[in-house]
C-alpha cells in the first residue's frame, strides 16, 4: 500500500529507507533501511551519531502514519542508547508513538539487525506540526 514515493526526501534516499508495514492499533511502523558505506568510521561500523538518523526516521514515520499523513514531528530532543555496532547493509527499524498529545508527542524507536538483535534504541520528545510538503 505504501508507495515509497512518500519516503522520497534526500535523506530518506541516503538511509535507503523502505516501508514494511504499519500496525494501526499499536501505532507502530516497521521500516527497512540500508546503511550506506559513507556512514562507516575507522571501527568499520556506522558512526554512532549517524545511527540517530535511522531512529529519527522510524520515529518520525510512526507519527506521520499515526496521523494519517497529516502531521510530522519537530524534534525537541532525542536520547539514544547504542547497544551494538550497526554495520553497513540492511537494518530494520521499528518506531511507535508512546503518547500523542496536541502540543507534545512522545516517540520511541529501535533498530535491529536481520537476525533480530537489538542494536540501538531511542526516545524523542517532539512537537506535532503539519507535514511539510503536505500529502504529496
Amino acid at each position: 500500500m505504501a508507495d515509497n514515493a512518500i519516503l522520497g526526501a534526500p535523506h530518506a534516499k541516503l538511509l535507503g529507507v523502505k516501508f514494511d508495514h504499519f500496525d494501526k492499533d499499536r501505532e507502530e511502523i516497521t521500516l527497512r533501511f540500508h546503511a550506506p558505506d559513507s556512514f562507516i568510521t575507522p571501527r568499520g561500523s556506522v558512526q554512532g551519531g549517524l545511527v540517530a538518523g535511522f531512529l529519527d526516521e522510524v520515529m518520525g514515520w510512526a507519527h506521520v502514519w499515526a496521523t494519517d499523513h497529516e502531521e510530522a514531528p519537530l524534534n525537541l530532543d532525542i536520547s539514544m542508547s547504542l547497544l551494538k555496532p550497526v554495520m553497513a547493509g540492511p537494518v530494520i527499524g521499528k518506531g511507535r508513538v508512546i503518547r500523542r498529545g496536541r502540543k507534545v508527542i512522545f516517540l520511541e524507536g529501535e533498530l535491529f539487525d536481520e537476525a533480530g538483535k537489538l542494536l540501538a534504541r531511542a526516545t524523542s520528545t517532539a512537537i506535532p506540526t503539519p507535514r511539510p510538503g503536505g500529502a504529496a
Binding site: A9, P10, H11, K13, L14, D37, S38, F39, I40, T41, P42, R43, G44, V46, Q47, G48, G49, L50, V51, A52, G53, F54, L55, D56, E57, A72, N75, L76, D77, I78, S79, M80, S81, L82, R131, P132, G133
Partner: protein, 143 residues
C-alpha cells in the same frame, strides 16, 4: 594539530565535509566546521534531526582524540565507543556550513563524558549534545 584529523578521515567524516578549525589545549575543546551534504536534507529543507547527531558525534570524538593526544602522547590516543547520546534541538540546522565545538567533561579509564554544541554562522546555538563513551585505542592503528 590539524594533522590529527587529516590522518583519519573516515568515510563518515568525508561525508560531512569535516574541516578542522582549532583545538584549545587549556579547555580541551575542539572546534570544527561541517557542511551538510545535500543528502542530509529533510522535507523541511533543514538537516534531518537524527543526522545532526553525526556532526556532534564527530566533534565530540575529535575532542577526545585531541585531548588524549595532548595529555598522554600520540601512542595513547583514544577514540570514543559511544554508549549513549542525548541531543537537544534548539533551532533547525540549515543546509549550510555550521561550526561545532566538542569537549571532554571527564576522562576516566573506563568511561569518558563528552559534550558538544552546534552553531550557525551568526553564532546562534542550534543543538547541544552529551555522550558517555568507552575510550578505546584507535582501530586499525597497526594497519
Amino acid at each position: 594539530m590539524a594533522k590529527i584529523h587529516e590522518g583519519r578521515r573516515s568515510p563518515s567524516a568525508e561525508l560531512m565535509a569535516s574541516d578542522f578549525v582549532s583545538f584549545d589545549v587549556e579547555r580541551g575543546e575542539l572546534t570544527t566546521r561541517y557542511t551538510p551534504p545535500p543528502s542530509f536534507a529533510s522535507p523541511r529543507g533543514a538537516v534531518q534531526g537524527g543526522l545532526i547527531a553525526g556532526f556532534l558525534d564527530e566533534v565530540m570524538g575529535g575532542a577526545l582524540l585531541a585531548v588524549t593526544e595532548a595529555r598522554f602522547g600520540a601512542a595513547e590516543q583514544r577514540l570514543p565507543l559511544n554508549l549513549d547520546m542525548n541531543l537537544t534541538y534548539l533551532r533547525m540546522v540549515p543546509m549550510e556550513t555550521v561550526t561545532a565545538r566538542g569537549r571532554v567533561l571527564k576522562l576516566g579509564k573506563r568511561v569518558a563524558f563528552l559534550e558538544g554544541e552546534l552553531f550557525d554562522k551568526d553564532g546562534n546555538l542550534l543543538v547541544r549534545a552529551t555522550s558517555s563513551a568507552i575510550p578505546t585505542p584507535l582501530p586499525g592503528k597497526d594497519d
